[in-house]
Symmetry: none
DNA sequence: TCGCATGTCCACCGTTCGGTGGATCCACTG
DNA sequence: CAGTGGATCCACCGAACGGTGGACATGCGA
């Protein structure tokens, strides 16, 4: 039995969702809330398994609520259910710890499968969201460095100054600096020392 | 007459070396190769006295080739000629059986003296390499950091500037710098980035 | 064919770092 | 008690680094 909490500021939507889940036996709606803060209360009170979370709400928004829930109740799975699929909405939600992201044009059947998947700890994303995500992950925080960037990082880890690295790779010092800036961006650091540390943690360096 | 084989993946470097040795009468280049495996072939074919070996090459790297040569042709002297002088490069090369270790910024004259020394079975090391080696041999006491030094290194690895590390440890920035100098000495490095790298390699950092 | 990722390069500027050569204090130990 | 090692602090200087905001060429894939 999956205990579900619904957080959405529109009573109509909440009603529709309640009806939808009333039709199945393995999912029971144990709480409803009209904004994020209220939703957190409901989850805390009823030990929910899954939270269906809207993003845009008065009071505490869905992203903040998701992040707060991940702190307070790490076991709970937050499934975003919203109308918008722009990057501006998707990325913060995923970063905040949502396990899935669905759009409100999803069919009831999809919705229920998604809730069951979330309860099992699996990620479910709407197709258009997947695209956004992949496009994003392919970009800045790709975790993976280009071949050239890895070479530069390895040299830096081995004690090369920018100039020495440039000599070793037969390119200009300016290029080394550019590569390093890109490395910093991708690894989320601000200097060569912590870039090297991240390199080891992500097993990019040996 | 010293028979020399040059192993380096950069044709330009090979050309420069060939020219260098063409100017003297007691050294003759009897073979060239672009990677380790090829280099072994050349040595086997021409019974060389000395091999000038680069370390970083596509295919078989210089360390592997050196070790293989020591097995196949124990009489041959392998002289490493590379751009890098970090411990990670130096130590494996020496262990693999290289008789000398020079850096590519060596002057042609130094290079020729080194080749002659190698042919006589003498060791020639670039000054900075000597330092690394001594730092390594200087005993286990030199390998371990004090508790405070480990704290500093960890902070640096996590992206702290000297000032931030000082704040975190409730001490002055000057003390951080002193600790770092001691860390550099002990680890045989010259900057924070490679200190972090060494920290990971020696499992001082996580 | 257009866009995107990649790799290369440049200038300017303020900040930080590394090198050097000290110094003091404390705890431990021969 | 003197010596040793660890931890703290100081000043000075030049070199290196990081931040910013570009620019251009190439090659690959949509």
């Amino acid at each position: 039995m999956i205990r579900l909490v619904i957080v959405d500021d529109h009573p109509i939507v909440r009603g529709g969702l309640r009806d939808t889940f009333a039709a199945v036996e393995d999912i029971v709606v144990v709480g409803e809330a009209g904004d994020g803060a209220e939703g957190i209360d409901r989850v805390m009170a009823r030990t929910a398994d899954v939270v269906l979370m809207d993003l845009r709400m008065p009071g505490m928004d869905g992203v903040s609520a998701t992040a707060a829930l991940r702190e307070l109740v790490p076991d709970v799975r937050v499934l975003i259910l919203t109308t918008f699929d722009s990057e501006r909405d998707v990325l913060p939600a995923i970063e905040a710890g949502a396990i899935g992201y669905l759009l409100k044009d999803a069919l009831p059947d999809e919705l229920m499968r998604a809730v069951r998947a979330a309860a099992r700890g699996e990620s479910v994303l709407a197709p258009s969201v997947t695209q956004h995500l992949m496009g994003q992950v392919r970009g800045p925080s790709a975790g993976s460095l280009t071949g050239r960037e890895k070479e530069v990082l390895q040299l830096v880890a081995n004690g090369s100054s920018n100039r020495e690295a440039a000599t070793a790779l037969f390119i200009g010092e300016a290029s080394i600096k550019t590569h390093l800036q890109h490395i910093y961006d991708k690894l989320g650091v601000r200097d060569r020392a912590s870039a090297v540390a991240e390199g080891y943690r992500r097993r990019l360096l040996t």
